[in-house]
């Protein structure tokens, strides 16, 4: 009794993998300096005989940025998928839950708070960078801890979603107040961070980010059976033997690791988490997480690579902030989803 859904998936996967390879190549190739494609491949494969300036551009700028785009697309898509299933709400995501805002608050306190005690953060030194990372992860974990505490008290998952929105709003307000009292220089570095910047990720940081994201993605696939049971609603999931409390904690923990680490390194990158899971459901016609998780990873990679390519098109004088691109792609898509599905609660 194999369904027709399963027959369509391999072609879809193949198509998306080819797409990812193509866009990966394009993302490496495009830029203000034109480097022959053959040289790019040689440089990545470790050929030291290529031009030194080309090697620096590829190895220290384009390659880490492209890998960052890959990780970002995969991680944010899977976080969003998990949140939509857990909260049974098609518009849920790490942003709505305030996890990203928590990361933002951490960074805001770090960047702007330091100036109060007389330390300048205007130069983006290594110390500052790692400070941003740590404060971002701390921020998202704080929100997570609050959410987990609430989850143990409140049974209704919709109430928790609303509380997540409230927490996000409170945090945004606090960030606003901090911004009001901070100096121009600090304000600018914070605003730059909120715009999201894949190029901020260095190859050394990738050595940390890559394993964290992989652990999160594999963890998500391991709990795909739990996520599937969640589709029936918590009552039925429980009757099928799911330990709800534990499942919730694991799902939120994985989401927070994925979102927290990505947000720390690349800044908040919006709408990927909401849009990609919908795209995956629409293309596969399935709600099965064993299909949706790999598919979301592939789609996320494709979309983020495309967004990154657009952000640095040769016709543009400067690189555009990636968050603006994902918003420009994402928001019309969300509006289309809402208009197309009037009964939006039926989406998942």
């Amino acid at each position: 009794m194999k369904s027709t859904i399963f027959n369509k998936i391999p072609y879809l996967a193949l198509f998306l993998i080819s797409g990812a390879v193509l866009f990966f190549g394009m993302d490496l190739f495009l830029g203000s300096v034109t480097i022959p494609f053959k040289s790019i491949i040689n440089i990545i494969l470790g050929d030291v005989n290529e031009k030194e300036s080309w090697r620096i551009i590829i190895l220290e700028a384009r390659f880490p940025k492209t890998i960052a785009a890959l990780l970002c697309g995969a991680a944010l898509s899977v976080s969003g998928l998990q949140m939509q299933t857990l909260f049974r709400n098609p518009l849920a995501g790490p942003y709505i839950l305030g996890i990203s805002s928590g990361a933002g608050l951490g960074v805001a306190i770090f960047i702007m708070g330091l100036s109060f005690i007389g330390i300048s953060t205007s130069d983006l030194s290594i110390a500052t960078n790692s400070g941003i990372v740590i404060s971002s992860i701390l921020g998202s974990f704080t929100v997570l801890a609050i959410l987990l505490a609430l989850i143990n008290r409140i049974k209704d998952i919709m109430t928790i979603l609303i509380l997540g929105v409230m927490i996000g709003s409170i945090i945004t307000a606090i960030i606003g107040i901090i911004q009001y009292f901070s100096q121009d220089v600090q304000l600018k570095s914070f605003i730059m961070w909120t715009m999201g910047d894949l190029s901020a990720v260095t190859s050394n940081e990738l050595l940390i980010l890559t394993p964290i994201v992989f652990v999160g993605l594999i963890g998500s696939f391991i709990i795909s059976k739990n996520l599937n049971a969640y589709l029936l609603g918590e009552e039925y999931a429980k009757s099928l033997g799911v330990n709800l409390k534990r499942a919730r904690i694991i799902i939120i923990l994985i989401t927070s690791i994925l979102t927290g680490s990505i947000t720390a390194y690349c800044g908040p990158i919006g709408f990927i988490g909401i849009v990609i899971p919908h795209l995956a459901r629409m293309l596969s016609n399935s709600s099965d997480h064993r299909i949706l998780i790999p598919l979301s990873i592939l789609l996320g990679i494709n979309v983020l690579l495309i967004a990154d390519i657009i952000s640095q098109l040769p016709v543009l004088e400067q690189t555009l902030p990636i968050n603006s691109i994902t918003s420009l792609i994402g928001i019309p898509f969300i509006i289309w989803i809402i208009l197309k599905n009037k009964k939006i609660t039926n989406l998942n």
Partner: protein, 254 residues
């Protein structure tokens, strides 16, 4: 011991506010039991408590020789399956895959069905007579079809006890009778114990082995014959214009 179903000193309710207190019931397994009572008197609360969806305030529920309230979710899922009144709205899932959710407690971490799982799924589909729906998407079904598919999922779970909250509520007359007959068949031919709530006392009197009547905050068990002969149903109404006709087993409005 293991042939009895025992509820002892059970107090149920929400947030420590009790709805029914000190319920004591000793009954037999392998029976079709219906819970009857007026709206808001605790039928759903009782069923939710027995199935472990709602914590009991105090008390015990002994089934198969174990106190159900002490079991983990995993252990419970192999003992009790439920069909609740909560609507499940999901798209992108085939009916046969929906029924396969019943095998969740038995499959490995990836949820791959083994041969015996497929056999249970096919059996449940056959018993519920939903072969024609198998390749449809769950979201395309009517309320009545969804209910049957949900019952099939519970059957595929292959538990000795099935608890259903108003299983016939959305159904038309034909589907209604088909579902009740199916429940009867499961008890008679498949050694299940089934507890379900209903407002259709006239059907319940015809097919159930036992009826748990909730009235004046007290729950008591009767056989259908007792219920009729002791004129217990009349006590539900403080109104002389409705009477219960013992001969036909129906209510009459004067």
């Amino acid at each position: 011991m293991s042939n009895t179903l025992k509820i002892a000193a059970l107090t149920i309710g929400y947030n420590k506010k009790s709805i029914l207190t000190n319920i004591d019931i000793i009954s037999q397994k392998n029976q079709l039991i219906s819970v009857f009572g007026r709206n808001g008197k605790g039928k759903s609360t009782l069923l939710k408590t027995l199935s472990g969806m709602l914590p009991a305030i105090t008390g015990h529920f002994i089934f198969n020789g174990v106190d159900v309230f002490n079991l983990s979710e995993k252990e419970k899922s192999k003992l009790i399956s439920i069909v609740s009144t909560t609507k499940t709205d999901i798209a992108g899932i085939k009916v046969s895959d929906f029924v396969a959710f019943g095998r969740y407690p038995y499959t490995n971490w990836l949820g791959i069905n083994k041969k015996e799982d497929d056999a249970e799924i096919n059996n449940a589909i056959y018993l519920c007579n939903i072969e024609n729906l198998c390749n449809k998407d769950y979201s395309e079904l009517s309320d009545g079809e969804k209910q049957k598919v949900n019952i099939a999922r519970a059957i595929a779970q292959n538990t000795p006890l099935i608890i259903l909250d108003e299983p016939t509520v959305h159904l038309d007359l034909i589907n209604n009778i088909e579902v009740l007959k199916l429940l009867k068949k499961l008890v008679e031919n498949h050694a299940k114990t089934i507890i379900f709530s209903t407002h259709q006392i006239e059907y319940a009197l015809q097919i159930c082995d036992e009826i748990w009547l909730i009235n004046n905050d007290i729950i008591a068990t009767y056989s259908p014959v007792e219920l009729i002969n002791k004129e217990k149903l009349k006590e539900l109404f403080d109104d002389d214009t409705i009477s219960f006709d013992k001969v036909t087993g129906t209510f009459k409005i004067r």
